[in-house]
């Protein structure tokens, strides 16, 4: 009995190690696209794996581990963004924002196409940024996004359309 328990624990720990190896980076980056703060993204990454480890026995395999982990990440990020603290404090601690605006020198150097589109995507409001990231960056299908976020297919499509319109507008502003 004790032997079996130890075996189970060993398997759980090994699975955790594998999941961290495979997904820690993706989760950290996904979290950053929501919260735009690396320190917070680090904490969320850790929380996601704690939650995953605690609920590992309840994972029924209805979705892949990746989808499951992404779902926890999205929920944690949204909890963070919903908090009043974030809403009231972020404008005061806008060091991240300042970084994206960049110094004069930065502005003089022509940004690469990749950097430009990346920064524009990050500047979108969260509901548009979310669908762009999940669809174009994570390469998820509409159905997978629906499963992950609970947003209906039609709404996702509408948001994708509007997000692209906004990006186009942002390019026009530069021109």
């Amino acid at each position: 009995m004790g032997e079996k328990k130890r075996e189970n624990e060993f398997e759980r720990n090994e699975l955790l190690r594998e999941l961290i190896d495979d997904y820690a980076e993706q989760i950290k980056r996904l979290a950053y696209t929501y919260v735009k703060n690396w320190a917070v993204a680090d904490d969320i990454t850790q929380e996601v794996f704690i939650s995953c480890f605690k609920n590992m026995d309840h994972f029924r395999g209805e979705s892949s581990y990746k989808t499951w982990l992404f779902k926890i990440t999205v929920n944690r990020c949204k909890d963070y963004l919903k908090s009043k603290w974030f809403r009231s404090i972020m404008p005061l601690r806008s060091d991240e924002k300042l970084k994206t605006v960049g110094s004069l020198d930065d502005n003089l150097i022509q940004k690469s196409e990749g950097e430009e589109i990346s920064q524009k995507v990050l500047s979108l409001s969260i509901k548009y940024r979310e669908v762009i990231i999940l669809f174009y960056y994570e390469d998820l299908s509409i159905q997978e996004i629906e499963e992950l976020t609970g947003i209906k297919t039609e709404t996702i499509k509408t948001r994708l359309r509007r997000a692209k319109l906004q990006l186009r507008e942002l390019y026009k502003e530069v021109e």
Partner: protein, 308 residues
């Protein structure tokens, strides 16, 4: 625009998300943090209420057995004296007045806790409007209004919004006879949340060994305390709305709500981020944590005993 968004992953990874690269060391640190987070802290916290309940029961057992042996002793001596002195009537009357002690029933010193325990022990999920039967293999019972409750504890487990859009529509409402399952579930959920350690966020102060014996205020820790107390306060607001049928429980929730609100307000501003203030906030947080965990433990005990 589609052309620009093509290959967005590599474009972002090479620019704005470059800092997201993780090393083996980082992965190792996460692994260690997760493994060490699995200590059953909750049980440790529950140990105190369980211990006090056990202590009460042992005390009652000792007093009961003492009273019982006195009773036997008195009866024997009275029998002996009865033939000589006719004094047994008064003693007999006093014996009849003593209520028998029910050792199967948990006894709490706090009358409020006793009422909560008794009520929740007897509380049952409603039979009407179920769409999944108790016999089905599922661990929860689902109702027509989309509410699901754990078959085992009766706590709310999920709400199915059906065709409704969570971003636009109103949340479906529970029926009156589901209220207590919602209240218990919310308390249990928040007790679990608040117990989660988010190292290093929950430290409001750093001790920097390299610099010496200085303490530094950790702003992120205070932020986290604010977030958690505010979320707890909001949940307790909903729980208050649904707990009218058990005023004793409502009273306990109200106390937690006040503590959470006070802490949320106190931790909202960073104007005076002194080490002393950080310590005070941390203490208040511990107090809030202890209140909700103890109430949750009481609910858990009642629900564990429901079939006894």
């Amino acid at each position: 625009m589609d052309e620009k968004l093509k290959d967005l992953r590599s474009k972002m990874n090479e620019t704005v998300l470059k800092e997201g690269e993780v090393s083996r060391g980082y992965k190792g640190r996460i692994y260690e943090a997760v493994i060490h987070s699995k200590k059953p802290k909750r049980k440790g916290t529950r140990f105190i209420p369980v211990l006090s309940t056990a202590a009460c029961l042992i005390l009652l057992l000792i007093l009961g057995s003492y009273a019982f042996s006195n009773f036997i002793g008195t009866e024997q001596s009275l029998d002996m004296k009865e033939s000589q002195q006719n004094l047994s009537e008064d003693n007999h009357e006093s014996r009849e007045k003593e209520a028998p002690i029910d050792f199967d029933k948990k006894v709490f010193q706090n009358q409020n806790h006793q009422q909560i325990y008794d009520y929740l022990k007897a509380w049952k999920l409603p039979e009407q409007n179920r769409i999944s039967s108790e016999e089905s293999g599922s661990s929860s019972i689902t109702y027509e209004n989309g509410y699901s409750f754990s078959k085992d504890t009766g706590y709310i487990s999920s709400i199915d919004w059906g065709e409704r859009n969570p971003e636009v529509d109103e949340r479906p409402l529970p029926t009156e006879n589901q209220y207590m399952g919602v209240v218990m579930g919310y308390i249990d959920e928040k007790a679990s949340d608040i117990e989660r350690d988010l190292f290093p966020l929950l430290l409001t102060r750093y001790h920097d060994k390299e610099v010496g014996l200085s303490w530094y205020v950790n702003v992120d820790g205070i932020k986290e305390i604010h977030n958690r107390s505010e979320l707890l306060m909001k949940r307790m607001e909903v729980a208050l709305k649904y707990s009218d049928e058990l005023p004793e429980l409502k009273n306990e929730i109200e106390k937690i709500h006040i503590k959470a609100e006070t802490l949320a307000n106190a931790s909202a501003s960073l104007e005076d981020d002194s080490e002393k203030r950080a310590r005070e906030l941390e203490n208040q947080y511990e107090e809030l944590k202890s209140s909700i965990v103890q109430l949750d433990a009481l609910i858990d005990v009642a629900r564990e005993d429901k079939d006894k």
